[in-house]
Symmetry: C2
DNA sequence: ATCCGTCTTGAGACCTGTTGCAATAACGGC
DNA sequence: GCCGTTATTGCAACAGGTCTCAAGACGGAT
């Protein structure tokens, strides 16, 4: 029994992924990984910085954003953009979905399964374009807000 | 003959649209409108600021961005987001399309007509959600880059 | 245990917008 | 033409992120 090299430990697996690429395992990266393992749903960069500082009070923004970039390249997290353009992060591979966001009431929904396929499928078939579903945010007006707003010529 | 109230003049029509809403017609807004009338394709906010300053050297960023917001509400312009998240503006109603952007080679394509319908249609039918096509940017890998990259587990 | 090359960090400048607020100026009414 | 109301502007601070670069520290080799 070797608890410290437990293959199921996502932190240990991340550490190995870093090292296998010639990258280094630092306290800052460990803190961010710990935060991500304990996170769920959509989390903004600022929130991740705050939480990381609870583990390592020295953590700075540029380090967090850089680490998130690397983790995205490693396939461990993904990000999309909220209404104001702010980045929202997800931990892999919990859920792979797109986002639907109403510009009026600000409600959001997730796009998964068949619905996602309906959107990505035609692009893949006709253009060979592989959509990055996790990054996708489709904005517009939800059914409720659409009836409510007076004939919007745009959209 | 009244050239100054020519109904086909887009600047005059914009002025009337402002006034009809109780908004004011200012030199700054006029400068930005003139820039937009002379623009085509995708233009970033910074580019619009520079061009507006050629007409009215006093124009400041906040005024330009605020005017663009208003013009978007009036349905005269729309914006989407490039790779870095920067805003890119379009003049209405020249073209109403979505955007397809390859994350690897940075090439972009426009999504129009049937292709756009294939994407927006299912959301409208199943959810009553009206997609803001102009704001939509779908990212991923184009057919060329997809074959080239080594088995990316993400996306 | 120490060395060293190279990766990573932290600090601060920078970039694109956004926002609060006091000063300014459209514009409808007189 | 003046006035007063109120929309708009300009400024400066702010916010989320990115970038540069010198200083620091991983970690493989000895
Ligand atoms: Mn993004
Ligand atoms: Mn936007
Ligand atoms: Zn809504
Ligand atoms: Zn490409």
């Amino acid at each position: 029994m070797k608890p410290t090299t437990d293959k199921a430990d996502p932190i240990a697996r991340a550490r190995d992924a870093f090292r296998a690429r010639g990258m280094r395992w630092t306290p800052q990266r460990r803190a961010i990984l710990e935060v991500l393992v304990g996170a769920s749903g959509h989390v903004t960069g600022v929130e991740l910085i705050e939480r990381a500082r609870l583990r390592d009070s020295e953590t700075t923004p540029s380090t967090v954003y850089r680490t998130l970039d690397v983790l995205e390249e490693l396939g461990l997290v993904s990000h999309s953009h909220g209404h104001d353009g702010r980045e929202e992060f997800h931990v892999w591979p919990v859920s792979r979905h797109g986002h639907l966001a109403c510009e009026a009431c600000r409600a959001t929904w997730e796009i998964e399964g068949d619905e996602a396929l309906a959107i990505t499928g035609s692009l893949t078939r006709k253009r060979g374009f592989v959509v990055n579903l996790s990054h996708l945010t489709i904005s517009g007006l939800c059914s409720e807000c659409n009836g409510r707003t007076g004939a919007n010529p745009g959209l």
